[in-house]
Symmetry: C2
Amino acid sequence: MTTDKGDAAAARPSPHGRPGLNRRNIAAAALALIDAGGLGSFSMRKLGTGLGVDPMAVYRHFRDQDELFDGVAQALFEEVDIEALDWDGTWRTVLEQFCRELRDALLRHPHAVPVFATRRTPSWASVDCGVRVARMLQADGFAPARSVHMVLCLREFTTGHALSQAVSRPVGGHLDPHEGHHFEVGLMAMLDGFEGLR
Amino acid sequence: MTTDKGDAAAARPSPHGRPGLNRRNIAAAALALIDAGGLGSFSMRKLGTGLGVDPMAVYRHFRDQDELFDGVAQALFEEVDIEALDWDGTWRTVLEQFCRELRDALLRHPHAVPVFATRRTPSWASVDCGVRVARMLQADGFAPARSVHMVLCLREFTTGHALSQAVSRPVGGHLDPHEGHHFEVGLMAMLDGFEGLR
DNA sequence: ACCTGAACACCGTTCAAGT
DNA sequence: ACCTGAACACCGTTCAAGT
């Protein structure tokens, strides 16, 4: 991952009184802009002007749009509170809670779900989280490779579900009060199936 | 769905000797262009010039890029041979075969998977297919709503998996000879879980 | 050294002008 | 009536020129 050693200093207000730009607040602003106007109307130039700086200023913190979108995915994943999971509960409870947390975070940002879902690595925090969950599964008796596969499958189902919901939801409205209810059906089925793999 | 009544006539060679443009062959050409150069380098203008016609000619068949991408998703889904499924086998066999067919078709076009996965309706053929599978599940004793949920869950897992594989695969190479092997783990687990829902 | 914004090489889409 | 391509309003990104 690209480090950003300048952020600690840049987070202080600049000499002009504006809050300094850094990767974190630029990515957060990009996510907000995508939330507000949809992915199609997002642009690097609008992001810069929206932040009140030179439209090209973002390029001093991110190589290009692709790298910025990595930051957007990271910002989104930070809403998943890993520490809030009941790590002392059963493996099944942890997986359930994690998938629901991830789904909820994604659906709070429907326009950004395609960005998240098409990142090569949605964020290093999500990788770390996956490793942690896989280790827990191993401690509970699942084979190492199997543990990794289970985590990948759940992440793919959850992301696939959120993406499907996000793109089928008309802007500003809900299709159906029960839309997305089937997520629980799939989650329960997959976890039931995993029970037999220990 | 938008009809395309002009296609039957347009499929014949034009007075200039070139094969006439229609929705079907334009969408196929777009898919081929995405396959060859990646989604990032695709453009409406390149598509037109690649077809040997005016760069704007595509707009007489598709309202805009979004509608063309619906056609691309449709072209991709047509590679899934629904009739080749063993419809006389068990519901489980049909679901297994369908998911594997869809996954294989998607991974033959990794650059187009984000297009497919972000369509509101990937194609009417896929909707019809889903309805047909759901009807089979009902005939096998699953509740109607449950049947629909099962189909949606499998489609979301399969699409999510293919998308994850497609974006993590470096252009022109494979990450690992065993990559994607976990698809079977998730598919078997979900189907095992579904067994208990009848 | 840092910052700016003009400039380049493109886009998607429209529409007036042709045939 | 059909077709064309010039024109419009943008893009992402680079980089020479400024401070």
